[in-house]
Amino acid sequence: MDNSTYVALSQLTALERQLDVTANNIANANSTGFKAERVLFESYLQSDDSASAGESTNYLIDRGSYLDSRSGVVIQTGNPLDMALSGAGWFAYQLQDGQQAFGRDGNFVLDPQGRVVTTAGAQVLDAGGAPLALPPALAGSVAISGDGVISSEVGGVLGQVGIFALPDRQSLGRAGGGMFVTEDGRIDLQADETGTKVIQGALEGSNVQAVSEVTRLIDIQQAYQHALNLISSEDDLKKEMLSRVGRST
């Protein structure tokens, strides 16, 4: 049987998914610490026993998606507890359900107990892996050094925000809210040794690049159109074939 319709169909399915991923990147063009996602395509080889040697059919599958790990632009906000990371390190958080997660969102506030939390409510972990807390009275006037040490003029050193190395970035699942989680919810905290710097009073913006996302949209649309054309010409051929076969009988 001819496969060409299905080959084109495999591409259409993959392209629709790529469009979803691209639309999500664009929707998050202003999300703090967001990392763009890319779809990974792969050809899937189907050997056909009835065909002569050397002929086989390639289908397209979207094998997976990976993370664009480039840093986002640093946006100055002036809020003393906002932190942007410059380098390869990550913050670690404890989510409300007890899960631990990695992320780069440094938009922090204090909760009434003085714990440092993200705007979505996840607790930030300190260098030792425990939830980071600050004395409330001093939190408005803290200075944060490049290595994450939080101090104030009157209170001395108050704590250190944890900067961790990401063990295997591509194997982490995305949980929304800029969080990256492992399957069992526990993460292996290893201090970052690449010299990542904390920038106080700034946030890391999304690393989505407008131009490349919009050109990707155009690419997707073109490729989609090509695959559709393939299907419709295949359809025409079949129609032609049926009408001719019909005539000869």
Binding site: L15, R17, A23, N28, G173, A175, G176, V214
Partner: protein, 261 residues
């Protein structure tokens, strides 16, 4: 095709962003106003194939998964609690807080609200009230025939009465601080209310450690940086356009799919 819905969440988020930015710009001249910034995060992900899933009996695992996100949401508006500039007004009832803290005022319904707007006046009964007529807490009443009042850095209010050259101390202004200023709920009229997220008000005196001091004859201007707001507005508009591009792409692709037969 989820792209339509995803791009719609993006457009809604940018609308929220524009709303927040335009409110900042509208309040650029509001006494004691603090800039707000909308904060966004990605929504949950649809995990189409799991990272680390076993792909062969030899124990090979899938190095990457296939995660398709479902869009974006606004998680909150964060107020930027930096000091606004101090403007001299020479009005003796104008007070600016130089540092952390809020004035407390009593609302007519008995609740307390907090404000950094220190443009106070006198009521018909001689009480110090804010622009809406809400009395400052703790209340201060001026004696009859007061010619002038003086308010010190630490909030001590003294009044010169009639011809007496020696001022009399008539009260002490206090300030309230909060653990999480960003968690307070704005009521409008320059007033904020304490919430579970902000924690209870911590009463303190001006000049205490970590608390601001008072400056009589000054008002705190808003901390809105107009240039910043305009550039944010441009960015929000472009992001909105990009999302609409994603919608039209999805639309054209679906319409093309409809036309193959």
């Amino acid at each position: 095709m989820k792209a339509l819905g995803i791009a719609a969440t993006g457009m809604m988020a940018q609308q929220t962003n524009v709303d927040v930015i335009s409110n900042n710009i509208a309040n650029a001249n509001t006494t004691g106003f603090k800039t707000a910034r909308a904060s966004f995060t990605d929504l949950i992900y649809e995990n189409l194939s799991r990272e680390g899933a076993v792909t062969a009996e030899e124990g090979n695992t899938r190095p990457v998964g296939l995660d398709v996100g479902l869009g974006v949401q606004a998680v909150g508006t964060v107020r930027l609690n930096t000091q606004g500039g101090l403007t001299q007004t020479q009005n003796q009832f104008d007070l600016a807080i130089d540092g952390r803290g809020y004035f407390a005022v009593n609302l007519p319904d008995g609740d307390q609200a907090f404000t950094r707007d220190g443009s106070f006046r006198l009521s018909a009964e001689g009480q110090i009230v804010n622009g809406n007529g809400y009395e400052i807490d703790p209340g201060i009443v001026l004696p009859d025939n007061t010619t002038k009042i003086e308010i010190g850095d630490t909030g001590i209010v003294s009044a010169y009465v009639a011809e007496d050259p020696v001022p009399v101390e008539i009260g002490q202004l206090t300030l309230a601080t909060f653990v999480n200023d960003a968690g307070m709920r704005p009521l409008g009229d320059n007033l904020l209310q304490a919430t579970v997220a902000s924690g209870d008000a911590i009463p303190s005196l001006p000049g205490d450690e970590g608390v601001g001091i008072l400056r009589q004859g000054y008002l705190e201007s808003s901390n809105v940086d107009i240039v910043r707001q305009i550039t944010d507005l441009i960015q929000a508009q472009r992001a909105y356009e990009m999302n609409s591009k994603a919608i039209s792409t999805a639309d054209e692709m679906m319409s093309a799919a409809n036309q193959i037969k």
